[in-house]
């Protein structure tokens, strides 16, 4: 469960206050596949970052029960001066999982070969995101937080990541954030729509998409 206890978020910018999320009081289930729809700039990523803990709510508290992944599809979590091996060992240690097993699974997926012993800053963007994705798949989470694009890299990699991901996440929940209603329809059962600062809950994904298409889509 992710509890949003009277959470509110705004940014104070030079051009005035930008309200991203109005006061929200919801619990998001972590054992279901939840889609979050919103137009570009509606605050989807900020919401996901708040749930992960990178951004902090302006008011209210977020409580997390169960093990949440870091936002997938995001590869900034690596320390550039460390090798893939060292980065994986850090994450494995942090989440208290077996390093060797995690490393093998992540490496198998990421296909970075003998680059595993090079500092991550020398990697191409594709390698980095493959590694990030492989690593998050290698650890069993209760709920995967996913930002926008499932899988980076070339077409073959995308197909592969989709297959692996669906297989992996069959028994776990996920929170998928996207502006694309087709992605949401494909993966999610229930949905939230970020609209004008409101986080609107829908018990049926088609209702969410319907609302999104009618009210948010350009």
């Amino acid at each position: 469960m992710i509890h949003l206890i009277d959470v509110e978020k705004h940014f104070d910018t030079d051009v005035g206050r930008r309200q991203v999320l109005r006061q929200t009081r919801l619990s998001i289930p972590t054992d279901k596949r939840v889609g979050v729809l919103g137009r570009n700039g509606a605050g989807k990523s900020t919401l996901l970052n708040m749930i992960a803990g990178v951004d902090q709510p302006s008011r209210g508290t977020i409580m997390r029960e169960g093990r949440l992944s870091w936002p997938l599809g995001y590869s900034g979590g690596f320390h550039g001066d460390l090798t893939a091996r060292e980065n994986i060992s850090f994450v494995a240690r942090l989440y208290g999982v077996d390093y060797r097993e995690t490393f093998e699974r992540a490496e198998e997926f990421a296909e970075i070969g003998n680059y595993v012993d090079m500092p991550v800053r020398t990697y191409s963007a594709g390698m980095k995101s493959r590694l990030a994705f492989g690593l998050s798949l290698a650890i069993a989470f209760d709920c995967y937080l996913i930002d926008e694009s499932i899988g980076a890299g070339d077409r073959f990699f995308r197909a592969k990541s989709r297959r692996v991901f669906l297989n992996q996440s069959r028994n776990s929940g996920m929170l998928l954030v996207s502006h694309n209603e087709n992605t949401i329809r494909e993966y999610c059962e229930i949905g939230l729509v970020l609209f004008d600062g409101f986080l609107l809950p829908f018990g049926n994904i088609e209702d969410a998409i319907d609302f999104y298409m009618r009210r948010c889509a350009p």
Binding site: S27, I51, G53, G76, Y95, F202
Partner: protein, 614 residues
């Protein structure tokens, strides 16, 4: 001289009669004769000098068919000057033979004098446009159109042509030029408004249409475009006002009523929407929209007549575009007020209490801090070629340079204490402060990605960095003093606890200062530069060079305010019996250190969101 196109033929009796009447100035009679002759006598042809006059008369009397007959006749007789062709073209056009007319005019234009060419070309262009030869027509207009009052018809035709050719840019340009040079007209403004409307430039469309209605107040199409554009412009209240204004003049505009209803619904004015909706007759061309609106009103709790209930098998209602409402949106309100069971708030006292469990919190933090420390350690090895060696080399260089200076310049001031030992016990303790400060100011920003792991809290990052720095400096310190003891000089060592107490004080001052400056930097970056200057001063005044005891009393009085000086002197007191001295006040130092740490924690708490938001 009687010059005639037909002088080779014998004049018929009617022709002679016509000539006589014409010469006598009996114009009506002449025309009457000519008309009769044209209808009956295939050989009738008037004398040349009266030919153009007769054509003009026929034109004026709208005898278009006879005019054509006349021009055909003279053409067959071999006359094909530009004027004959021009007139023939005109009569062809008037007899609805558009394409031949255009062709004839084309040949007329080619032989006509320059001053006539434009006029002929414009007529030809208009005809070609009518005949559907859009691109040719457009070319002619482009080349020959002049924006003056006399050309009003041609301008209108040119605009239509440009529209049909799909060249809206050109149409807009011409509209603007015409408006500027010969004034605005309602049809032109309508055309302009329609173009803008099609391009979804609602504001421009609205402005054009409103300008048009200023000219023709009762022009319904113009008013409708203006109202539609206002609706598309998404100005809730403005759209409502405009639509209402139009509907008072234009009572059977069903589409307008539908649009008004939608606006009112978005604005939450359900009652008015219902009133408008009831004035729409069933079975109009907006039936689908009407029923859909009825359904929405019914959903919002309004009392809707049964014939308005939507027919579900009519298919999906059309998706519409609407401006996000601002808190008044009834649909949003409805969703917010009925949260589906999956999303109902599920926390209770127990969940909230679990968060306050100190044991669990400390365990989590210890785990996270230890892991981050390991990561930072590994990163330090990787970052520089020298890795951790740098942690030792940097203070070593400070010690060597300062020892060198002391050895030659200020030897006697160390009170017989070994110079290297004197410098080491000054510089390395101060590094507890300086390095910790430096490590913390940027800690959060540099390690922001770590926060993606929800196990990691900002405080963990501060903690990991500080602890790592403490042990690093402790290691360096022990290494230095041991080295000196073994290889340079055997000294008498005081209390390890006292040394620890003093470096600990320096360390927490460093943490506090790092937190304060790191947080304040989110308000103004330059504060870091100011603090760098302060730290340079700290380096000089904190006992690295001068101990409190050896300063002149007037100076010492002020220097003693520096809490770090007390800590550094306190450390040094354990390495030489002559150092330390009565003025050293560790309680004063700790008061400051704790105060700075508290301030640091407050600053972090107050500004952490700002630091992370940047």
């Amino acid at each position: 001289m009687s010059l005639s196109v037909v002088d080779h033929a014998s004049f018929s009796a009617q022709a002679e009669e016509f000539s006589r009447a014409y010469a006598a100035g009996e114009e009506d009679e002449a025309v009457r004769i000519a008309i009769a002759a044209l209808e009956t006598d295939p050989a009738f042809a008037p004398p040349f000098e009266s030919l153009w006059w007769l054509c003009g008369e026929l034109l004026a009397r709208r005898k278009h068919r006879l005019g054509l007959e006349l021009t055909e006749r003279v053409w067959k007789l071999g006359y094909n000057g530009w004027r004959a062709l021009y007139l023939r073209g005109i009569f062809l056009a008037l007899n609805r033979e558009i394409e031949p007319a255009a062709e004839v005019l084309d040949s007329a234009r080619k032989v006509a004098p320059a001053n006539m060419q434009k006029e002929i070309a414009l007529l030809e262009a208009r005809l070609r446009a009518m005949a559907g030869q859009i691109s040719t027509a457009l070319e002619l207009f482009r080349e020959h159109l002049k924006f003056k009052k006399a050309n009003a018809r041609y301008i209108a035709a040119a605009l239509q042509t440009a529209r049909r050719a799909g060249d809206d840019d050109l149409a807009i340009r011409w509209c603007r030029r015409a408006n500027k040079l010969i004034g605005e007209t309602a049809p032109r403004m309508r055309l302009l408004a329609e173009i803008y409307f099609e391009r979804e430039e609602w504001q421009k469309a609205r402005n054009a249409a409103e300008a048009g209605t200023q000219i023709a107040r009762k022009n319904k199409p113009l008013g409708r475009i203006a109202a539609r554009a206002a609706y598309r412009e998404d100005n809730g209240i403005q759209a409502i006002n405009r639509l209402e204004a139009q509907l008072t003049k234009d009572k059977d505009w069903t589409e307008g009523k539908i649009l008004l209803c939608r606006c009112l619904l978005v604005a939450g004015r359900d009652a008015e929407a219902l009133r408008i909706l009831k004035t729409i007759e069933a079975g109009s061309d907006c039936e689908v929209e009407r029923r859909e609106l009825a359904a929405r009103l019914q959903g919002a709790g309004a009392d809707v007549a049964p014939d308005m209930v939507p027919i579900t098998d009519e298919g999906e209602p059309k998706p519409r575009r609407k401006k996000p409402g601002s808190g008044q949106d009834s649909e949003v309100k409805k969703i917010m007020s009925s949260i589906p069971v999956d999303f109902l708030p599920r926390w209770n006292e127990e969940t909230l209490a679990a968060r306050g469990n100190p044991f669990a919190a400390i365990m989590r933090m210890a785990h996270s801090v230890r892991t981050i420390m390991l990561r930072e350690t590994m990163a330090k090895f990787g970052r520089h070629e020298l890795g951790y060696l740098w942690a030792v080399l940097e203070p070593m260089m400070h010690v060597l340079v300062l020892s060198f200076i002391f050895y030659f310049i200020r030897l006697r001031d160390t009170l017989g204490m070994n110079v290297v030992l004197f410098v080491s016990t000054g510089v390395v303790p101060l590094f507890f402060y300086l390095k910790t400060y430096g490590g913390l100011t940027n800690a959060l920003r540099q390690n922001r990605p770590l926060l993606n792991h929800s196990l990691v809290q900002p405080m963990d990052i501060f903690f990991a960095r500080s602890v790592l720095e403490f042990f690093t400096q402790l290691f360096v310190f022990i290494l230095f003093v041991s080295f000196i003891f073994v290889f340079v000089e055997k000294y008498t060592f005081g209390s390890a606890l006292s040394v620890f107490a003093n470096v600990f004080g320096l360390w927490i001052t460093g943490i506090g200062a790092g937190l304060i400056i790191g947080s304040l930097a989110s308000l103004a970056d330059s504060i870091k530069n100011v603090m760098d200057g302060v730290n340079r001063l700290v380096y000089i005044t904190s006992g690295v060079f001068f101990t409190l005891d050896r300063m002149p009393p007037q100076v010492a009085e002020y220097a003693a305010y520096n809490p770090l000086l007390h800590f550094v002197d306190g450390v040094r007191g354990n390495f030489s019996p002559l150092m330390g001295g009565s003025r050293v006040d560790i309680v004063y130092g700790y008061s400051w250190a704790v105060a700075i740490l508290v301030l640091g924690l407050i600053a972090d708490r107050a500004l952490r969101r700002r630091v992370l938001d940047r």
